[in-house]
Amino acid sequence: MGESLCVESGHLARTDWTETLVSKQLRKQEGGRRFGALAAVLAVAAVAATGCSSGGSGQQQDESAPLEVWIRQDAGSPAAESAQALTEAFSKKSGIEAKLVAVGVTDFETKLQQRTAQKDLPDIVINDTGQLGNLVTQGLVREVDREGVAGSADIADRAWEAARGYDGKYYGVPFNSQAFALLIRKDWREEVGADVPKSWDELTELAVKFTEEDPDGNGKDDTAGMVVPGTTTRGYLTWWFSTMLWSEGGGFVEKQGDGYAPAIDGAASVEAVEKLQAMFCDSKVVQPGASTADSSTTHTVFESGKGGIYLTGPYMLPRFDGSLGKDKYEVVAAPPGAGGTATALAEGENVYMMAGSANEKGQQEFAEFAASPAGQKIGLGVDNGGIIVRLPVNTTVDGAAERGDPRWDVFQKAYDTSGRNAPALPNWSTVRQISSEGLNGVVSDCSRDVAGAMGKLAGEIDEELEKQGAKG
């Protein structure tokens, strides 16, 4: 039964695929030579013709075949140990052998590419929601039938949304989610006599106080209000700015018709970017070197007591509890901005069922187990500290209660009430990269006119949307 079903869905996916491919090829050739276009069409036809055999959906099925499970965690880390516990529990329950491979964070893409080139993918990959577009365009993942997943209804809608591709179909089963919140130095805030900020403007004011009033009392002007990873690497600046931009009522792109249109040059967005520029140029509340800092740098800035406000995910709590001390900082949801409502960037990880597996039934069972209360509880890592489930995707599991730490509730609430996933573009990471370049320019060159720069950025985003076939 597994086989016939898979072949069918494989066919569907492939037809789609070919369409996108053909249209993409044609677009690429628009300015080019006829010959190229012809060759491309022929090549596409060849791909389509050989379709089913190369895709691997026709793989002989064996319901007891062992599964190879990849997770994006570093070998030997506590998180990898939790993942090991998860696979062991799965094997015990289902009787299907499963081998966990912890592939390092930095090298995940390279290793996956290697296996792709060898046409021998792992069966299960637990990876960022942001990678979905990429995996889908490369044809590496199988489509998921949301209703057919056992316990599907218990999984949060917002988490499902992050497992959905641009075409509206699902390509993963949610496993972990998280939202971003502010870590504020409580001792500093009390020192300067300020309240917990209620808006982004108040937040900026607090940052100014942290910068200017020597909150650590060491007599030196060496504290920064806001800790910002402003580098373009991996699009960090965009990633950080998303929460602020959305709260201020702006956006990078917006829905338009069946697709998307750039929104970064809209009035609200431009105003938000102007505020960002002011943080770097006028009030200078960001830490020195912010425009080239990546997250490993900013973690250090915050934990060494050089910065007061840090927008980050819940996974940093254990580290900062150890280095800074639990009593030194508080967790606060990102406040609303000019847009009126608070919005926080939401992210997470999905269980992806990779193409070409010999045990598709086992794949599905693994994904179901990972999202089930039992799987989620193991992932919370309460016993061993290795957190692979930050906020449970399963609504019947109360993460904060399991952990006995109310600060996690702040993140959970932020996710539930104001969480917002990155736009479901065919490839969001490219747009993220382009935007971070544009934003980095504005914060590096204080004399640059924001409206003009954002107009230019909008043009670039528009071009990219067109390339991805996602223009409305």
Partner: protein, 286 residues
């Protein structure tokens, strides 16, 4: 004694010369080694200050070292040693052979071969990674897989353009007469190579030894493609994952870097020996 070095700086005696030398060494030490040493001290402090160096921290701790050992850094260190041991021996051998042919033999196409050797250094390995990973899993013609064993990390580094280039340029400088007089004495090709040319290249052997060690020690992409299991990881792989791990601070990375640096420095100290001249000029003139 007087004419031992080009500048003759060491021969100057007297208090002023000594003071000047001391000042020079101190400045050079501070500029090149100072920042690194300060950072290494950072490896043994609880939290690293991102704004300033502290040469005298409040308290030292071995927390970072313990955490690094928890992450199996010592196993990775052993793998690194195995790979560098095998790889360097092969690499030096291959380089001196190739350098000998390119420098001491005149043959058609030697210029082309040299350009080919240089060409191998021109493409970044990130781009070669995808084709290379397919190739490593199934070598053309031989149909052997190098994936999943340390051998796969050793064989591909055995030929390195830099070493070949260095050997070639240095071997060109050895006077022809020596070789020819050995041949007149009835020495065969291998003996000329082994007993005449090679001993005269000691400084160059030192250079390719030191840089070869560093090159293999720092290999990143190849071990990544070859390893199928963390048990086969080498130290640089471990370093990268330590840096990217949000849960460990920079301190653990620095401990790893410290461990990675030590063997290179020791190798350097050992191989500097070959820079002692004496052999060379003695033989040439003798």
């Amino acid at each position: 004694m007087r004419n031992d070095t080009a500048l003759g700086l060491q021969e100057a005696r007297g208090p002023w010369a000594r003071v000047l030398r001391f000042v020079l060494y101190t400045v050079l030490f501070a500029v090149f080694a100072g920042p690194l040493l300060a950072l290494m001290i950072g490896a043994f402090t609880p939290t690293v200050d991102p704004t300033q160096f502290t040469l005298l921290p409040d308290r030292l701790s071995l927390d970072n070292l313990e955490r690094a050992i928890d992450r199996n850094v010592l196993d990775y260190l052993l793998n690194s040693f195995l790979v560098v041991g095998g790889g360097l021996a092969l690499q030096v051998l291959v380089s001196v052979f190739a350098g000998y042919a390119l420098a001491r033999k005149r043959f058609r196409g030697s210029a082309v071969v040299l350009v080919l050797v240089l060409a191998t250094m021109m493409l970044p390995e990130e781009v070669l990674a995808v084709p290379l990973s397919v190739l490593l899993a199934d070598l053309p013609v031989l149909h052997v897989s190098l994936v999943g064993s340390l051998v796969g990390m050793i064989v591909p580094v055995a030929a390195w353009g830099f070493s070949i280039l260095v050997m070639t340029e240095f071997m060109k400088e050895i006077p022809k007469e020596l070789e020819e007089s050995a041949r007149l004495d009835g020495a065969g090709e291998l003996r000329v190579f082994w007993q005449v040319v090679l001993p005269l290249c000691r400084p160059a052997l030192g250079v390719i030894g030191i840089f070869g060690f560093t090159m293999i020690w720092d290999q990143y992409m190849l071990p990544l493609l070859v390893a199928t299991d963390p048990a086969q990881y080498t130290l640089p792989l471990a370093l990268r994952s330590l840096r990217s791990d949000d849960q460990v601070g920079i301190g653990v990375l620095l401990v790893g870097a410290f461990l990675a640096m030590l063997p290179s420095v020791l190798a350097f100290l050992a191989l500097q020996r070959s820079f002692i001249r004496g052999l060379t000029s003695g033989a040439v003139k003798g």
